[in-house]
């Protein structure tokens, strides 16, 4: 069966963007909401800087944690 591209993410998946928001609190909550909307497991705001009308933000989700069973390893098993 064809592997999902997500299975090939070695460890973390970061989403970077600029969020229009009224204040830092809203920006943070929007960042968390964004992670949920994108179905990112355990999305964490790595970086958020709010200035005036919006925030530069980086959200991270670990697709594979060290110690997990990595789905990208399956390629090594099949060949």
């Amino acid at each position: 069966m064809m592997q999902k591209a997500l299975d090939r993410v070695v460890d973390a998946l970061d989403v970077e963007t600029f969020l229009y928001a009224a204040d830092e609190e809203e920006a943070r909550s929007l960042a968390e909401q964004l992670a949920a909307e994108l179905n990112l497991p355990h999305g964490d705001v790595v970086f958020l800087e709010y200035k005036g009308f919006g925030a530069r933000v980086r959200i991270r989700s670990y697709i594979h944690h060290p110690g997990d069973r990595y789905r990208w390893l399956e390629r090594g098993s099949s060949k």
Binding site: V46, F47, R69, L73
Partner: protein, 612 residues
């Protein structure tokens, strides 16, 4: 002289062709460059006249350009050129796939790589297949080569002599569970025995096992006696190890050093994700992006626990468990020329770590008694005894050891940290080992509290590097990593701070540099592979920007270097006068409570023998 025809096949741009012409001429080829706007027919006509060994086409790619390049290839075939002339294409937008689709013999993607171009001209296959060759031919660098270790500051040399003699006198006849386990481990390795061998138990194994377990903490004993794993640890399945080896078997990246000029500094990355398989992936990423070496980090609890585990073990938190199997697996995955450091500068397993590291193929150790026996570390008595034994092992194995100065992070001023490092330098030399001091380039609490870097971060860092050149002819390896406490979780900022520190160190002619990832300041999760790439890319470009330019110290940097130098002398005088190294640590002569430093307590009361 072999001829090479260079064709821009572009209406305007031919910069790549001009560059290539110069480089090929330097390499001894007769490079014939055609003008921009040359047609495919003109290229072939010229080739029929000149009979070059190769035609190299440089071109950016647009929709119809592909047809033009394809036509050139077909025309070359039609005119019978391909039997003796090979065709290569390159350009920023050209991909390997496009080159293949158009029927070229070689495709040069990304920035100009002369090694690849020359290999192609010499008739070797280019592309994925040559990737491994360059790596295999690369020699493993030797950081300590060429250094005399002669002291330029004779006063410091005399002071250190006295301190070292006192240390060696003090450790005489003393031992610890750590040293005894190291001896047992060495015996086990010599006998080919492991504590978990499922096969018939020999009398020797039985004896070694009993003796070893008697020297271990409960957690380790439980592992061997009842198969109980410490919290957060799991066995790695053979299939996982095998799958990773299979993955590596089919992938090899071309080594491309981070340095733009010269052979130094060597660049090191730290790893220790907890999982050896993930570590290997991170090491391969770091190697692919240009590191020369990697440093193994073990879990913090491993340093606080008497005894080491065995087998392929994965750990779900930071730090990868020190076992012979884990270490060998990690070493095996590295490129042969990659330098590998196994740290054991602190903790209760310092001597045994050197034994295992040596057995697994380590190139470098990491030992620092004053740093390891403060700030939540090991008891100073214990680490002094273990440290000296470890230095003897390093000397016996011929493995250099580096001495990190990370106690600065607690708030210790550089001159105190450096005095401690110097004691380790002298102690190592006395025992026949090769030390490598590691001054930390950082924005430490001492700097912020006393405003030493309020104007800039260059003068102090330059001073910290200069002072080493004034004192002793030894390699200097700023770490660990450079730019400590200047990083934020913002990846551009973080990568840039690492890059400027790396470039600064490089301009000062250091021998090696340990660099962070852009996740350095992110504490809520493990370092990601992508974060390693961020920093390595930034360092590469900073070094490209800087080239061989060297910085001239400002008057302020010179003053700061003098201050540090004087400070070191003062500290060493006090330690020498105190006449007791262990007491000097305990009493804060190398860093006191005000500096944020407290003597370590782990393993207190475990040293035996000699006069305590």
């Amino acid at each position: 002289m072999k001829k090479v025809l260079l064709a821009p096949l572009d209406p305007v741009h031919d910069n790549a062709v001009k560059l290539l012409k110069r480089k090929l001429s330097e390499a001894g080829y007769d490079a014939i460059a055609m003008r921009p706007g040359t047609t495919s027919e003109e290229v072939i006509e010229k080739a029929l006249e000149e009979r070059p060994i190769a035609i190299l086409v440089s071109r950016t790619l647009g929709y119809k350009v592909a047809e033009t390049l394809g036509r050139l290839v077909d025309l070359a075939e039609a005119s019978g050129l391909r039997e003796m002339t090979r065709l290569g294409v390159g350009g920023m937008a050209i991909t390997k796939e496009t080159g293949g689709e158009l029927g070229f013999d070689a495709c040069f993607t990304g920035e100009l790589n002369m090694t690849e171009v020359l290999a192609f001209l010499e008739g070797k296959p280019v592309g994925l297949q040559t990737a491994g060759n360059a790596v295999a031919e690369r020699q493993k660098p030797n950081i300590v080569q060429g250094f005399t270790y002669a002291f330029k500051d004779k006063e410091i040399e005399t002071l250190l002599d006295g301190i070292v003699d006192q240390i060696l006198e003090w450790v005489k006849g003393k031992t610890s569970p750590g040293i005894e386990r190291a001896k047992l481990r060495a015996e086990m390795l010599a006998e080919g025995i492991s504590l978990r061998s499922p096969a018939k138990v020999s009398l020797t194994q039985q004896r070694l096992r009993e003796q070893y377990l008697a020297l271990c903490d409960d957690t380790i004993r439980a592992f061997y006696l009842t198969d109980k794993l410490p919290a957060g640890v799991r066995w790695l399945a053979a299939a996982e190890i095998e799958a990773m080896e299979n993955l590596l078997g089919s992938a090899k990246a071309r080594y491309s050093p981070l340095r733009h000029v010269g052979e130094k500094p060597l660049f090191f990355s730290q790893y220790g994700t907890g999982c050896p398989v993930m570590d290997v992936m991170h090491i391969k990423v770091a190697e692919a992006w240009g590191v020369d070496g990697v440093l193994h980090f073990d879990p913090s609890w491993g340093a606080q626990c008497e005894g080491l585990l065995e087998g392929y073990l994965s750990h779900e938190h930071d730090g990868t468990i020190l076992t012979l199997e884990n270490l060998k697996f990690i070493r095996h995955a590295q490129e042969p020329a990659t330098l590998w450091n196994v740290r054991g500068h602190r903790g209760l397993n310092t001597p045994e770590t050197q034994v295992l590291g040596h057995a697994a193929g380590a190139d470098l150790f990491k030992i620092n008694i004053p740093y390891g026996s403060t700030a939540g570390g090991t008891d100073p008595q214990r680490l002094t005894v273990d440290g000296v034994y470890s230095l003897r092992l390093a000397a016996e194995y011929g493995i250099p050891f580096d001495i990190p100065g990370n106690d600065e992070l607690s708030g210790v001023p550089p001159f105190k940290t450096f005095a401690g490092i110097l004691i380790m330098v002298a102690l190592g030399l006395k025992l026949g080992a090769k030390p490598i001091p590691k001054p930390l380039l950082c924005y430490s609490p001492y700097m912020t509290i006393y405003g030493r870097m309020d104007d800039n971060m260059i003068d102090m860092n330059i001073a910290k590097l200069m002072v080493w050149r004034e004192i002793v002819d030894a390699p200097v390896w700023p770490g660990e990593p450079v730019g400590f406490m200047t990083h934020s979780p913002e990846r551009v900022q973080s990568s840039m701070m690492t890059a400027v520190h790396a470039a600064l160190a490089s301009s000062m002619g250091v021998d090696a540099v340990t660099i962070a990832s852009s996740d350095e300041a992110y504490s809520k999760g493990p370092i990601s592979a992508a974060a390693r790439v961020d920093t390595l890319r930034a360092v590469r470009d900073a070094l490209r920007f800087q080239g061989s330019v060297q910085l001239t110290p400002t008057p302020r940097a010179l003053t700061l270097a003098d201050e540090i130098h004087d400070g070191i002398c003062e500290v060493l005088k006090t330690v020498a006068e105190r006449g007791d190294f262990v007491a000097s640590i305990c009493e804060g002569l190398l860093g006191n409570e005000e500096d944020g430093l407290y003597p370590g307590r782990i393993g207190a009361g475990t040293v035996s023998g000699g006069r305590l």
